[in-house]
């Protein structure tokens, strides 16, 4: 009866303001850093770009999962959910190893304002990806126990909307942090 998709739509709109503020904080300090690490001298856009492709691909696979459910293909729904979770996890692996590499060079959240804004923005995004992975895992678990026989499920569709949102935010974040520094 309640309109779950409308709820998630407005929720995502609200969340995008949250990310907008984090991005504005990053933009505000871009170019003010006179010494110490910056995006240009400490990040690797190519490596992160490749891991970003995994996240972009996962948006495609979660869409395919929804398609499979709509055509009542329960087996393929589970397959595409597994693929989505793996791709998302790969992205998180990429982010974690990037963070560890930076911290090894003593680039931390308290080093300077680049560290502060970079770790906060990518950290909140990574947290959102992790929450999405958790929800996808729950969906997969429920699917294993026989839920989501199709053709419709608000649960699958809402998680999918959220996942697309997390993906879309990353495109902006990647552009602002990585592309802006190198173009």
């Amino acid at each position: 009866m309640a309109n779950n998709k409308m709820l998630i739509g407005f929720f995502v709109a609200s969340e995008s303001i949250f990310f907008l503020m984090l991005i504005l904080a990053y933009v505000n300090f871009h170019g003010t850093i006179t010494d110490g690490p910056t995006a240009a001298n400490s990040l690797d856009p190519l490596r992160t770009g490749i891991f970003s492709l995994f996240l972009l691909a996962s948006s495609f696979s979660v869409w395919l999962a929804g398609r499979s459910m709509a055509s009542k293909n329960h087996f393929m729904l589970k397959i595409w959910l597994v693929v989505t979770i793996l791709l998302g996890a790969l992205f998180i692996y990429g982010q974690a190893s990037e963070w560890l590499g930076l911290i090894d060079q003593n680039i931390t959240i308290s080093r300077n304002v680049f560290g502060t804004t970079f770790f906060t923005l990518t950290g909140f995004h990574g947290f959102h990806v992790c929450v999405g992975l958790l929800m996808l895992t729950i969906l997969l678990g429920l699917a294993m126990f026989g839920d989501f026989k199709g053709p419709k499920s608000d649960g699958v569709e809402c998680v999918s909307i959220y996942w697309h949102f997390v993906d879309g935010v990353w495109i902006v974040v990647y552009s602002v942090i990585y592309l802006w520094a190198f173009l």
């Binding site: 009866m1 309640a2 309109n3 409308m6 709820l7 407005f10 929720f11 709109a13 609200s14 969340e15 303001i17 949250f18 990310f19 503020m21 984090l22 904080a25 505000n28 300090f29 003010t32 850093i33 959240i109 308290s110 300077n112 304002v113 560290g115 502060t116 804004t117 770790f119 906060t120 909140f124």
Partner: protein, 556 residues
């Protein structure tokens, strides 16, 4: 009557407990009426706490060079007073009133997401506990004001845990506000009964809708600022610390980017209460319904583009100051439209000055006063003189107390019979009203002059300049008159709950759907939702020969 549609029952009944299970039936409740009542009770508790803090402030200022409390305690008191009144009294009261009334007014069984609704309520309570827990820490609660300007709120200027608890507590209530905003929007957009079009929506529901949009788009601004502040304080990040490359002005932009729309979050639902009370007690439909609803949308949009009028003293440059000054003055237009509509509704009406109407009428007068000083300080040169003085304190108490709180009192007297099945005492209500008006104006009117004479706000004490002592003493006496009026209000509630006259279903002869239920409403709200074919469904029901919209089709 045979054409009245049945309320569709939920396919899956919500978990509910019987009356005989005592407190558990409240704690475990997902019923919007019980949650609404719990909101109102918890805001009453916070209201008393915030009021006591105000009394400490006024006691300290009662005479020059006084040391009733230490400077640290004084700073804690004005910080906690502002934070409590805004985030734990006015906001949750208005949201709670909405939670109770919106489903009834649109003819629904409950909110769209009853469990989310319960989560919203309990997050406010836990946020409040988190905030007040800071009293138990070694160095006490936050001392940096409700605006928590950087770098004062940052290390090394605030090494105590107060601001951390403050930000965490407000983050919890922020999540709660977004959740209730989302819940309200979906409820209002999807769960209206048949015939309840957007153009027939009660104005209170319109105001809650616009407020909810403000909540979901504005609270994330401060939520991210709180997150940054917490990172600064806990992980040594450098967002707002200029010594390490951060920017203190950024905090001001973020804070007021939220803070100014927030004042409309605090006052729009209050406008909604007034727009319900005034027509009923003037025995006329609201004048200019479309304008009241439309001007609310205009206020909501404009409110997001005026934040830097809180920052004229920062030195943002003439272009920025000019824009923010003009944009702020623009808001006076839609607000003025509302005031004109309320007055035009009363004009020629058969006015019945019961307590709700007394508060609603006083609201118009006090709120206009606060609005006029608001337009004045939107002008940059005047603001440069008045900024950080008691003039500002007087201004925002006229809009928040004379505005929001007067409307809240009107709302309590108006809907109390519906909530409880008992009438509140009119005799005590009139005592409450007159003492509130006298106490409020005595406390705050004089502060305009104190401010123009140069008394700074947030000051611990002051020298014995001519008249300052006596003017402050007058203000303090006014605060104690207010305290007495609140005691009478609480006594009225307590007494009326036990011994109040039994309330009929529709004691004020009102027209919106909530009055079609029993008093208090049954758990399932309506047995039958009356047909809606106009803005005043109960009027149409009583006067089938003279409906508001004679040509309206009855939709079944």
């Amino acid at each position: 009557m045979s054409k009245i549609p049945l309320v569709p029952e939920n396919t899956k009944p919500l978990p509910a407990l019987g009356e005989n299970q005592g407190m558990l039936s409240w704690v475990a409740s997902v019923d919007h009426k019980q949650i609404g009542i719990m909101y109102l009770i918890s805001t009453m508790v916070f209201f008393v706490i915030g009021g006591l803090e105000a009394l400490v402030i006024r006691m300290q200022l009662a005479k020059p060079e006084f040391d009733f409390v230490s400077p640290e305690v004084y700073n804690q008191m004005f910080t906690m007073h502002g934070t409590t009144m805004i985030f734990f009294v006015v906001m949750p009261f208005l949201i709670g009133l909405g939670v109770y009334l919106v489903p009834l007014m649109i003819g629904a069984r409950d909110m769209a997401f009853p469990r989310l609704n319960a989560l919203s309520f309990w997050l406010v309570v836990f946020g409040g506990i988190l905030l007040y827990y800071s009293f138990l820490t070694q160095s006490g609660p936050s001392e940096v004001g409700w605006f928590a300007y950087a770098p004062l709120s940052e290390k090394p200027f605030s090494l105590n845990k107060g601001p951390t608890y403050w930000a965490l507590g407000l983050l919890a209530t922020g999540i709660s506000s977004v959740a209730s905003g989302l819940n309200n929007i979906v409820t209002i957009l999807t769960m209206r009964t048949k015939g309840m079009t957007m153009r027939r929506l009660p104005l209170f529901v319109w105001m809650i809708l616009v407020t909810s949009f403000l909540l979901i788009f504005v609270i994330p601004i401060i939520a991210s600022a709180f997150a940054m502040m917490l990172l600064d304080r806990l992980l040594d990040a450098t967002f707002f610390t200029p010594a390490h490359g951060g920017s203190a002005i950024l905090w001001q932009h973020f804070f007021w980017g939220f803070g100014h729309p927030e004042v409309y979050i605090l006052v729009l639902p209050a406008f909604g209460i007034i727009s319900e009370v005034i027509p009923v007690f003037s025995r006329k439909p609201i004048y200019g319904y479309e304008f009241v609803a439309g001007s609310t949308v205009a206020i909501g949009l404009l409110s997001m583009g005026v934040w830097a009028h809180h920052m004229f003293a920062v030195g943002l440059g003439n272009v920025a100051n000019l824009y923010f000054s003009l944009a702020s003055m623009l808001i006076a237009i839609p607000t003025g439209i509302k005031v004109l509509n309320w007055v035009a509704t009363m004009w020629g009406g058969k006015i019945w000055f019961a307590t709700p109407m007394l508060f609603a009428t006083a609201f118009i007068i006090e709120f206009v006063l606060g609005g006029l000083t608001g337009v004045a300080i939107a002008s940059v040169p005047i603001d440069w003189v008045a900024t950080d003085t008691y003039f500002i304190v007087a201004h925002f108490h006229y809009v928040l107390f004379g505005g929001s709180l007067f409307a809240i009192f009107a709302g309590v007297y108006y809907w109390f019979p519906k909530f409880t099945g008992r009438m509140m005492s009119e005799r005590l209500g009139k005592w409450h009203f007159w003492l509130t008006v006298i106490g409020f104006n005595m406390t705050f009117f004089i502060q305009h002059f104190l401010g123009l004479m140069g008394m700074p706000r947030r000051t611990y004490t002051y020298h014995d300049f001519p008249y300052w002592g006596s003017m402050n003493l007058l203000s303090t006496i006014g605060a104690f008159v207010l305290a007495i009026s609140v005691l009478i209000f609480i006594w009225n509630i307590r007494r009326s709950l036990k011994h109040g006259e039994k309330a009929p279903d529709n004691p004020w002869n009102a027209w919106t759907l909530e009055w079609a239920t029993s008093s208090p409403p049954a758990v399932h709200n309506f047995d039958l939702v009356p047909p809606v074919r106009g803005r005043r469904p109960l009027w149409d029901l009583e006067h089938p020969d003279n409906p508001d919209e004679p040509n309206a089709k009855i939709v079944l």
